[in-house]
Subunit: 240 residues, 2 copies
Amino acid sequence: MSETSQRPTSRKGEIRTEILSRITRGDWPPGARVSSEHELMAQFGVSRMTAHAALAELAREGVLRRVKGLGSFVAPPLAHLTVMNVGDPAEEIAARGALHRAEVILAAERPATAAEALVFRLSEGASLFHLVIRHFENDAPVVLEDRLVNPKAAPDFLNQDFSRQTAFAYLMALAPYPQGRHIIRATEATERLRALLHLQPNEPCLEIERTTWTATCVVTQVRLSHPGQRFALIGAIEPR
Amino acid sequence: MSETSQRPTSRKGEIRTEILSRITRGDWPPGARVSSEHELMAQFGVSRMTAHAALAELAREGVLRRVKGLGSFVAPPLAHLTVMNVGDPAEEIAARGALHRAEVILAAERPATAAEALVFRLSEGASLFHLVIRHFENDAPVVLEDRLVNPKAAPDFLNQDFSRQTAFAYLMALAPYPQGRHIIRATEATERLRALLHLQPNEPCLEIERTTWTATCVVTQVRLSHPGQRFALIGAIEPR
DNA sequence: AAGTGGTCTAGACCACTCA
DNA sequence: GAGTGGTCTAGACCACTTC
């Protein structure tokens, strides 16, 4: 994408933009069959590898769907794909040019409840680390981080100084490239959140709950509560 | 991803999984230099094109960063990438196995305010289409769709039957593969929203505002308001 | 000058689909 | 059997980085 109105710098790019423009012009509606690799070889005077690379790239991006023995087809563009960066609260605040400060409210070890044991695939009552941290942006509280950590994944977790390095950064160093899922909700704030985040009367919270795991175990589950009036998630939309 | 624990089916896949496992094992921490294309040719007995393809694929996925003349390096895994499908409300409701119904509340043409003109890059007072639709899931209201449409992108927009085809599907057919940005917020509901979405007292809204454009013009801006207690956005996390 | 990645060529073998 | 995409080879030229 983003290449729609750029001059291509490579033979592959030429083919790409030509195909993309035919699709957006409507010459090739969703479902239509586009040129085959051999046809592109003749039309553009390139080798089959180059024609293949152009089509394969468009297929990877979701613009085309390719079927062995049949051909390449314009994929139905029936869903946006929304992409959002969710990173270290400290880094995001710093990226906005603001000052970050973290306050540890709770850092303790305790037995898992039945529900938590299920999430972490542990037995009920197994030990979990529980961390609660309040993040400030220029002295205004912007996130309450409520995090559970699997001791098997990070046995030394509670000995960290979380006012210096965030839990996010520490866990990412221990278990880089995790998989995960997240849930975004709008919730009515509890009295505790109302006080900790300095919420206005009736101001809701934007909650992000994130569970991440590696091949071997569930690493952490975190709930990030943001003040609704002072926080929004912004992201880009990509076609698929 | 997702290939971490699969047996590779191709030479490229072999190289990929070997590199990935060395990274996740910690042999190659973030910032480390990985094998060069020539080294991989020798180690795996493949051609340079195959070694290149493996490294290029990992670079595309954000696992590696490649620098011409220098080498390939493990990318710092300091941010999650959150990916979410945002599609047609009707299709999403159907995908949950529920019944979808749409009710048109407003469909009109009116002059743009100054702020709207800015968004659509039109002059103030230029004509805009304004559509308000309430979507039901099994007879419970789940979304209020408040949409502005650029008449230049969809001149025939108001003549559609939006109880049969959603505005989303109609616009996607007219201008497939748009670019865009979206903002997600938690907001206190207005009285109007409270009534239309059957909200509980103090129940907040999860708002998604989406602006989409093509190469030639801004196509549409839509605000989707969801009841906080009955709606959440769920997505997958991918490393970058 | 040596090593790196970016790109491309002109072949090749295979598995698949359709008629 | 003819056409399709999936994958791979053994070269090539180029731009770039470091020494």
